[in-house]
């Protein structure tokens, strides 16, 4: 299988701290990959290098066969990567519909009808129909997370990077989220950073475990669940919580 996204020895240090160290990762088209690891493991730093928010100290990022390591973020998005922020980052003072329209318009251009249809469809998918006109800042925290997700979806990306999308969502909203990811499976590759193990085990095709900046383990959910090192580093504490 030829990979959609690959990293080779991707590293980033902050001062003396090796936040991410020589990570090799290959993600196939349409694959749902979970990236897990304890707090501070380097997950956000790693995906930030994929999308271009953080420059690597060394190593390479390849997308669809092209080396994109030096490309600016907007150019990577145009190639088909999309990113949703761990810390919600929406256009707080703009209406919900305009937030999603901005995401859709880059792809659909000035065709107002197509943009409006895409906005309505996407808001429907995440369950925010009826809230088009209110300012994003006036949404509840969970709904802002869903708006982030909608902005990712409206870009129709080939690879969607989700940084802790279910944080702050209610149980029913998490169910909606899981159903949504299942509808994307096969067409959109997903790189999912997630602390909720139920979500990870249900959705992921494969799991990569990051700890202190290095890949600790990688494999199918069942194998990762059984891995003793992973349990020691991560799952043990998460299961107790």
């Amino acid at each position: 299988m030829s990979a959609l996204l690959s990293t080779r020895a991707l590293s980033r240090s902050f001062g003396g701290l090796r936040a991410v160290h020589e990570v090799d990762l290959d993600l196939g088209p349409g694959e749902v990959r979970a990236l897990i690891g304890p707090n501070g493991a380097g997950k956000t730093t790693f995906v930030s290098m994929l999308i271009g928010r953080v420059a690597p100290s060394s190593g390479r990022v390849l997308f669809d066969g092209q080396d994109i390591t030096r490309r600016p973020a907007h150019a990577r998005v145009r190639l088909g990567l999309a990113y949703t922020f761990q810390i919600t980052s929406v256009f707080a003072r703009l209406p919900v519909a305009e937030n999603v329209a901005l995401a859709a318009r880059r792809r659909l251009g000035r065709d107002r009808a197509a943009v409006a249809a895409e906005v309505a469809r996407t808001l429907g998918r995440v369950g925010l129909t009826g809230r088009e006109k209110i300012a994003a800042a006036d949404l509840s925290y969970g709904h802002q997370r869903l708006l982030e997700l909608a902005m990712g979806l409206a870009q129709a990306p080939r690879l969607l990077i989700l940084d802790e999308p279910t944080q702050g969502l209610s149980e029913p909203e998490i169910e909606t989220f899981k159903a949504l990811v299942r509808t994307l499976a096969g067409e959109t590759a997903i790189l999912l950073i997630e602390h909720n193990m139920g979500v990870v085990m249900e959705l992921a095709d494969r799991i990569t475990v990051l700890d202190a900046g290095v890949v600790l383990a990688e494999g199918a959910p069942a194998a990762i669940r059984a891995d003793a090192r992973v349990q020691a580093a991560y799952l043990g504490t998460a299961a107790d919580a």
Binding site: I51, R53, P72, A73, H74, A75, V77, R78, A82, Y83, F85, S89, V90, F91, A92, R93, L94, E98, A101, L102, A103, R105, R106, R107, G109, R110, M151, Q155
Partner: protein
Amino acid sequence: MRGGRLIGLHLGLVAVLFALNFVLPAYSHGTVARVMVLATYAMGYNILFGYTGLLSLGHAMFFAAGMYGLAMPMTHLGLGAGPALLTGIGSAAVLSLGVGLLALRTRGVAFMIVTLMFSQAAWLTILLAGRWTRGDEGVVIPQADRMLLGLDLSDPSTRYLAALALFSAVLFGTLWLVRQPIGRVLVAIRENEDRAELLGYDTFRHKLGAVVLSGTVSGAAGAAYGLFFGYAGASFAETHYSIFPLLWVLLGGAGTVIGPFLGTLFMFYLIDLTSGLTPAYMLVAGVALVLLTLFAPQGLAGEIRRRWWRGLP
């Protein structure tokens, strides 16, 4: 959004200004003509500050680039008013492209300082080139040269209508721009630049475009001011001419199409009225500004938008 009502509002303003040409007493007639040209400057400033969220403290250099780009070739090369308007606007476009490429490497306060420094340099250049610019004293453009398309711009009514034409073109141009996808991207950059970049928009290029457009419109206002009122002087390149459009836009409502005009008009008449009443008129004007900032922090048009008309662009 109901485009009809919006266009109606802005057309209504233009119609009122047109009618005023025939009824205003001579003094006010001249003031409103001046306000329309300076409001054009403010609208240019607003594209960058109000819509894109970039605070420049150096727009006087673009205004002056337009003014001197017009006046210098007219005075020294005998260029006609029409071509000189174009050299004026072109000078501002080129200057804003150069300044934009350099200043946009910075953000926030650094951007303010860099634009301020460039503008100071432009002002000093005008003074140093005193042999041609005649420094503070400035150059007068003789009445005979102020002919555009066969119209005599020294005639008050012609000048008023020419100012109205420029004002209307920029007013409707801005209204069109901010409702286009590209205008929405500028607002997105103002609201959350990182997010806009991660939606795939090249934020640097959009900001550069905004600087050039803003600088060019400001330059067009400067060129028109020189031509309509027959004078180009170094005081138009000084820092206070960079602060004025900021004040006008803040008063009228940053990020609204009609706000820059309201702010410019308000400031002019505020100073005019108070200076007739008391020698401490700047104090009175200052207090009025403080009150407005306290009670209508979004400016006049911003307040209208907040209270009555949420869709006002």
